[in-house]
């Protein structure tokens, strides 16, 4: 498959996953929404609309490259080829989950593909610097990519980690996905400047802002930053404008949005836009698209079915895995 089509397919897979996860999460939660009910309890932060960020960047990564992700992790995990079945089983809290049910949606770990995430805002930055140090120490040209929301760019760890990576010339790419909001707080009421990428200047590293939620533009900027890191030239900072199609978490009434704000975002859905451009460039046919939609739907249903069939863990298993 051509690279653009491969990226398109991955975006479709993520979208399908998030849409289905929204449905699965809703099971057992009506008529009254209850966070603790249904087959998938707990918080659920979905990334539909934000696919280009994950796909545009991670497309350039190897299995050995590290990705650290935030509380909204599915798109990053899927793009990094985290085992979809085991990831889904984890979100269902089942024994075949990546962590046998101990982690859940915000705590997906797949060391096989060097993926991890965290529920703490800003926590994805420091470990990426450390992984990069390990690569450099061994003379490997792997890189680490830390993803976080625009809200996370106001955390102390952002500053400390960028400075540390820049000082150490560590092969890290810091990627901020700007979906305009941190829960209910708009970027312009929490961030003193318009573009976090301008903060790169505080560390003497390149900073690029990518508008338009456009996977090819993202891919281009990411490719450059990753090549730079692999070549030993140190870290970069990217900020990528994107849009959040669901609420902050499922169940969010989004009363803080301006009227019509969501519609504007949905109208700019990156997936149909990308598909149309692939059609126009004759990189994709309608038949191929149908095949892709079918394939990703099957993958997602397979993963969900796998998760549903996986047994619940035994209660006393809670006591294991505190120490290695």
């Amino acid at each position: 498959m051509d690279a653009p089509v491969e990226m398109y397919r991955m975006m479709c897979l993520i979208r399908q996953y998030e849409n289905r996860m929204a449905e699965v999460y809703a099971e057992g939660k009506s008529p009254l929404f209850s966070i603790a009910a249904g087959p998938v309890p707990g918080e659920m932060h979905l990334a539909a609309g934000q696919e280009p960020v994950a796909v545009g960047v991670i497309h350039h990564l190897r299995e050995e490259d590290v990705v650290t992700a935030p509380h909204r992790p599915h798109h990053f995990a899927i793009a990094k080829h985290v085992d979809l079945r085991r990831m889904t089983a984890e979100i269902f809290g089942r024994t075949d989950g990546l962590s046998h049910g101990k982690g859940g949606h915000m705590h997906l770990f797949d060391p096989r593909v060097h993926f991890s995430c965290s529920g703490i805002v800003g926590a994805s930055f420091p470990p990426a610097v450390g992984a990069a140090l390990a690569f450099r120490h061994r003379g490997q040209d792997h890189v680490a990519v830390a993803f976080a929301g625009e809200g996370a760019a106001n955390q102390g760890t952002f500053h400390e980690s960028l400075n540390l990576a820049a000082t150490w010339k560590a092969p890290v790419i810091f990627v901020i996905e700007d979906n305009h909001y941190a829960i209910s707080v708009a970027k312009d009421t929490s961030t003193a400047i318009a573009k976090n990428s301008d903060r790169a200047g505080a560390y003497g590293i390149p900073g690029v802002f990518i508008r338009g939620n456009d996977v090819l533009a993202i891919s281009e900027a990411a490719s450059e930053a990753i090549a730079r890191a692999r070549a030993g030239k140190g870290p970069s900072l990217l900020e990528i404008e994107t849009t959040r199609f669901f609420g902050h978490f499922q169940g969010d009434a989004e009363a803080y949005l301006h009227p019509g704000e969501k519609d504007t975002w949905r109208a700019l859905d990156p997936i149909p836009r990308f598909r149309d451009s692939l059609f126009a460039q004759r990189l994709l046919t309608a038949d191929q698209d149908v095949a892709i939609q079918q394939e990703v739907a099957e993958l997602v249903e397979d993963a969900i079915a796998f998760a549903r069939e996986s047994p619940e863990p035994q209660p006393a298993d809670a006591l294991t895995d505190v120490f290695a």
Binding site: F33, I35, G93, G151, A182, S190, D317, A318
Partner: protein, 337 residues
Amino acid sequence: MTTTIRKLTMARAISEAIAQEMARDPNVLVWGEDVGVYGGIFGATQGLYQKFGQDRVIDTPISESAFIGAAIGASAEGLRPIVELMFVDFFGVAMDQIYNHLAKNHYMSGGSVTLPVVLMTAIGGGYSDAAQHSQTLYSLFAHVPGLKIVVPSNAYDAKGLMTTAIRDNNPVMYFFHKGLLGLGWMPSDDWAEVHVPEEAYTIPFGQAANIGEGTDISIITIGAMVPKASKVREQLRQEGISVEVLDLRTLVPLDKQAIIQTAKKTHRVLIVDEDYRSFGMSGEVAAILAEDALDYLECPVRRLAIPDVPIPYSRPLEQFTIPSTTRIADTVRAMMD
């Protein structure tokens, strides 16, 4: 005289206390993440933004060190900030400002600086929010000197303790349990939704509440374990076991006398806690008994708490770690044997 029952959820009781104190004192301000239009993720600041405006109810960036630390400078200059740390689990990004400064400046200044700050935060699990969003952790803050530690178990106490907290001239950490708030979208214990008078009132710190007298055994507990203990008390009454339930309400100051007295009365003590078992609240209460009520104990002290594991995500795993009414009842029965 007519007595009307005015049942309020704990979330409403908290926000009502804050609103009344804000109306009373223009120096009371509220800030934190999503405390404005959103009204606080757990509703503790609902309606305040609409009533008092954005100059007194302020949404902050995700910068807990800066905005909690800001409460230090602001209170030293005469404000009385109420700051929300969204989940207690996030304390680690701001702990230096909390315990090295907010907690210690009064002492380090020889009493010349006072910092009237309420730091309120959500605690507790039970809804599969996993290891970074389900802890109670109050023992950590009770361990370091300089912070008052408040953990209400019901709406009446929540309002009175919040009013006391706001009027206190010391830093007060106020922990509300998500499973007591009456949020609708979160499982909540009905027991916590009780009559709450409309007018402002205070509840003194350091006074445990005797939730139900008993003669055979005492359960000493706090927060969301209080309703559970009370239910066990009702249940065991039918089995002929008379359980006394002590709600500590505040850990600092701690009502040592009440702890000792209940032990002297019933001669058997079970401590129930939703914090980690070791090096925490349950240990401290047991230690007080070993020091000051040893000769009155007819059987070993027992503790039920989170068994020193991070809180797991999966429902059966999580439920296994949190003391349940079944396990509390079984433990009481075993202690009566």
